[in-house]
Amino acid sequence: MKKFLLLLSFFLTTCFVFSQTKITGTAKDQRGRKLIAASIALKNSYDGAVTDSLGNFSFKTFEKGVFVIEAKMTDHKTVEQNITIGKEPIVLEFILKEEVSELKAVTVTAGSFEAGDKKRASTVLSSLDIVTTANANADITSAVKTLPGAQQVGEQEGLFVRGGAGYETKQFIDGTYVNNPFFSGAQDIATRGRFSPFLFKGTVFSTGGYSALYGQALSSALILESIDLPERSEVDASISSVFVGVGAQQLSKNKKSSYGFNYGYTNVGLYFNLIKQKPDYFTVPAFHSLEGNFRFKTKKGMVKFYSSFNSQELGLRRPNIDDENLKNAFGLKNTNLYNNISWKENLGNGWKMNWAGSFSTNKDDIFSQIQDQNNQHQFTGLSYIDNNNFTLLQTQNVSQIKSVFEKRLQGISVLRFGSEYWHSYTKAKYSTYSSTLNDDFVAGFAETDLYITNGLAAKIGARLEHSSIINKWNVAPRISFAYKTGKDAQMSFAYGDFYQKPENIYLYTTKNFDYTKATHFIANYSKIDATHTFRVEAFYKKYQNLVKTYPNYNNDGNGYAQGIELFWRDKKTFKNVDYWFSYSYLDTKRDFNNYPTELQPTFAANHTASLVAKRFVLKWKTGFNFTYSYATGRPYYNFQNPSGTKYEIKDMGKTIDYNTLSFSVNYLPNLGKQNTKTFIVWVLSATNILNQNQIFGYNYSYNGNIKQAITPPAQQFFFLGCFISWGVDRSQDAINNNL
């Protein structure tokens, strides 16, 4: 009864003493477009409404007096307004400015393929994609070769991008340059990259026009960002036809730090016994690799340390091209130590800091000999044959520090600036000649990402560099724009100057060089949604000051590259099938090295295409992956200098087209098993399953009368491996700690 009375009086006071006031109005954005589902709330009351499909709202309230009324909506700035509620109806108009948000805003995509960023659904390649791309055998560079812009060069390691040589592509890990990203190898045989794709959470493959934060790469940059803390502690083991490995990762209980190590031993001896190789290996290629890492969270950031040590050896004999009774023997021992430390910190107040340091040392101990049929060392007295009798001891050290500061400007616009310093030291002993190169390289850079609206963004930057070895400065401007043209669609444009100092091999002879230079112009259109990616990109590049080696070493070379590229990825049309297709058209010529004139370089094919398809069959817990790559023939030349004053083309031609179809199978027997702590992946892969002939170019005898095709050591590569990880699940600890 009492309750009833109270309720009654409550209703009386609210209903009769005061009457309701009607509040109506509209919500629009700054351009006058009506906003649907904007939330209107009379603060400190329960009253409010949501705008309808016309952007209108209406509600009634018993409240009286001065109130704050708020309008808010996703991706828009919340607006508040003071109102005095009396008896009269109130009509309001809210204007909510659209906020530039990282997810909605256009991003400058000209020239770059971003991969592995978890926040964006529309990434091009994740680390899982890299390991499940047939033909790549979990090698980052090989997987990247299925993207447009990259050439199918099989006789040398490296990425040959848009008419650029392999050494014009540089790799960066957590901001710093990696000096020897590939294993050392013999001439005409490509080697793998040293780093596993699982080390990285993000990969950006830039085929041009990249950020002012990076330099000394004329054609392309492969920017790798290492993973943060692992998701759990685990112990791993692997065994395969060519290697064995063990490793462990320990994630601390509070999930703030981790450490781990991996050891692997690769020996292809057993495999080479089964699968015939063309060269005669007297030292079977073998590697030891040891890696360690630790990572910890700081107050508002993270410190990461990674170190790897590799040692390898190999030795092989191939027939001598000038004298069929002789052989060329080549032996290599290499050790490589790589260390990288990086520190990211959010300094507050819109400031971020990114500090990185790295140190690497690489030692090559090489011998090359002319041998007879009994494998005895020979001197012929003919200089063009005896040139192959040498030893080379080379040490390369690179130390770097780099700091980048970032200040958030209005909205999500940022200003970045910083500097870097590299010291490189190279000491080589070529038979009896010794030489040393020292370079102190400094660079300063600044760049700003301006988000003018969600539909228009610009990246403007510049870079200033000085290299002590050639004692030259350069200033490289970089500008790019992105403009949203429609739903999920945008256009980007990029322009930039790129400088690279000449390779050490030339600097041994003279230091009287300038930077080699490339100017990039790129236009790009892309349409990307969660399951499809479509890109088309056109580019023009001008090369200046390329290194010429004849008649003397100078910077008189030049060239150009232009082309158009397509990329299409589709995860939806065919059920459970994910495929991508890339096509590159390239028109390029350059005059460099001992080229007598401007020619299409030997590493450039006019047309390159790849089709990668993956299908996972749940029923069998098995993934099937196919890669088909095609490239038109590449040019080859024989330059002769009969007069002693000028190189001439004595012979030239184009190789046969390059075709390779590869497949791999991943079988995950424990997939989906409840409560299992063991995770197993079986991998079976084969490259070039149709056994098509591959010719990468030709080597000529000294007199030019004999030509020999450059082919891979074996047409095909087969791999069978088993990877096991035992996870130490900390979820129980996490629950206990939470409670």
């Binding site: 409550f10 709330a41 009379l42 409010g48 998701e231 996972f616 029923k619 989906g672 409840q674």
Partner: protein, 210 residues
Amino acid sequence: MKKVIILSFVLVNTMFAAFSQNEKFTAAMTATLEQMKAAKTSEETADVAAKFERIAEAEKRQWLPYYYAALIKARMAFEAKDKDKAADEATALLDKAAAIEKDNSEIFCVRATICYAHMMVDPMTRWMQYGADATKNLDAAMKVDTTNPRPIILKANSLKNTPEQFGGGCATAKPLAEKAAKLLADFKPASSLHPIWGKESIDEILESCK
């Protein structure tokens, strides 16, 4: 005497004010819960979520309106174009609920739902992370309240949508749904405003797993 009268008058008045505030909350919550049950279209659902959010922001010390607003937003995230963004909005509301009511089984359940929404953006690459996070939250939900049927319902639902080869399907989902049905029958909510949902989901699983 006069003092006593004034004092009692003041007392009654403040009590009345407090009581009416509580009544007002209960009445508004009850009405909004009814509206939630009746909501059919996505507009109606969004309207209910906004209403819960307004109540939550006016009250500040009640976790339930934040909880319901987060629950609805989490469910809406599955249909949203930008699932990550919608799920993040749900998380923001749920964090406010969790700041008021610590280690609540129901809140863990919504956390798990949000994880599933994130996972649906790209299940193939995200199940390792978000699937595990969801399981973690459901395990926590079961641990804090063994009588709560809702974590079991969510688990059953997730299993039903998991391929048999991955240890899902009716074979594993059905027994859980049956267990959840029993728990739900015995479940006594702390008040008429506390969560009692789940019967429809159970029926749906049992229906499709006949």
